[in-house]
Amino acid sequence: MVNISVDNQKIEVEENALLIKVLQDNDVEISHFCYHEALGVDGNCRMCMVEIEGAKRPQIACNTLCKEGLKVHTKSPNILKVKQEILELELINHPVDCPVCDQAGECSLQNYYMDFGLYGSRHSVEKTKKAKHVDLGSNVMLDQERCVLCARCTRFTQNISKSNELFIIGRGDQARVSSAPNKPLNNPYAMNVIDLCPVGALTSKDFRFQQRVWFLDSVESICHGCSKGCNITIDHNTTKFDNDRIHRYRPRRNMAINSYFMCDEGRLSFHKENKKSRHFPFNASTLRTLMCTDESKKVMLANASLSVENLSILKLFCDKYSIELFSLPIVDETFGDDWLRNSVRSANASALEFLEISSSYEAFLKAAQTSKLLININHPLLFENIESHAKIMHFTTHDFEDMGDMRNIVSFASYSHENGTLINSDNIIQKFSKSLHNIHSENTLHHIFTQIDNTLYKTQETLWSGYISKQLGLGFSDIQKMGTKLKGVNNA
């Protein structure tokens, strides 16, 4: 450990730590375009200039290593002047079309101009024209005029996705990002370049012109696309003229799981959440008669993407009324890879073991043959009508094909409507939060089953203290913000 001083404040850091990382970790504002924790140092944008005592000229913080006694000034008048001049250079050929740019409101160029730009234009000749809307493929739109050539996108395709689709071609004011002819951006993680781009050069075709970002409310959540459990931010909003709708998912930094990224399929999975399902209200007494009083054999099949809380309440309910509970994780071998995509497409498949819920397909089929009533909790297997003579009662979040007798359907809130926890494929338990508020928000699975049986745990807090914490070996308040690794079932 060494001592350095930043703006006259003493900080103790690891020797040879990157100065820009130290500044970021200590909440010192440091402007930058090209440096990114996941992509490493490039040093081309020069925006992270700091003054170092003893050095002749301003130095870039992203390529400075911390040594004992380093004295750094980030806000001296000289540095602000240097940054303003670099910014002026960046903006010489920038089209300044913020009104039509989707990045406006979360754009580094805009922010830095407001921080230390605020100069009048000295530019008197025509600006260089480049391509304005190039479709790079994979939902990515490129505007070469807005680009600051930080090379984050090209470094992503070279070092992280290793698909090498993007390059910077040309020199001087003709330098621009481009893909090779007839080789569009084509990899399952391509849309991450949109988040990486600090300006409006790369924008999402999916989100393009949908909303201005300052109208969006952000909620921290977990992607339910597979059992990897990538951390996401759900951006949604209700306007006076439209219902509560999700507009995009963005990956959220969690170095233990997804770093800064997520796959395109997960990113676009919000369209399914937005799809309106019809509202099928439930009648607690009818359901009670159907599921609790009848003595005949009953089988329940729960979707393994349900939260730990919902699976627990189902487990308690089924144990009490001797209903056989199964949950079959959905496995898609073609989906998985060795990074963020997991073949197990059910987000909470790892929880089944902790909650002692059977996931045996054969046992389920055997039980379903002889049962009189099948209770389907949002599992796609039963939407496709497997061969069975039993009556099927559907609890569903979305409309499905061939809904048949609508009297046997109850709609309930999907994951974006409620709080919950998930256990991912690495046994890391994480919380997600409620984002959407609409007609379905009231009808959570927890609410429905506590209405059917009033003696079950009424709230998530009592459910956790009374049941889940015993099963998992930790309490709700023990779960860290970035998730907590659970011990295996046998050690718990």
Partner: protein, 171 residues
Amino acid sequence: MGVKVVHRHGDTLKEKMYLPAIFAGMKVTLSHFTKNISNINDMQDVCYPEQMPSDITPRYRGVHRLTKRADDSIACVACFMCATACPAECINIVATLREDNIDEKMPQKFEIDLLECIFCGYCVEACPCDAIRMDSGIFSIIERERKDFIYDKEKLLSIKGAFGSENSHAK
């Protein structure tokens, strides 16, 4: 993120006390009052609606209109600045891709609910493209049904400016 500080008037002690300004205003009011009460038959008034007001100036905030560019295409680029500034939230914009190669973005839908509008003029101030103006000179809006007070894009484009300058002056 940076914040641009705009210095406003009203820093002096005289302005902070408010009272001098109140008395100055009262002086005007009282001078009119005494003038009118001494000569009650010669008061200036307008028998509206038989007699229309003649003092509508270019600064008057009438019904909004959407301007066009010199090539007769819509000037609005659907940047949502007016909707962001609007305190009554009466502007409903749905943006779409502009296909005519003049710009990238345009409103697919642009509706102003004139029953909710408070005619503050913030939308005009906020517009970076000089695309929305209130220089129609129309001060009286009469419709038969509530839904007719929601002026859509076509209607707003069809309203003419009353003071000469027709097209958007944005560069």
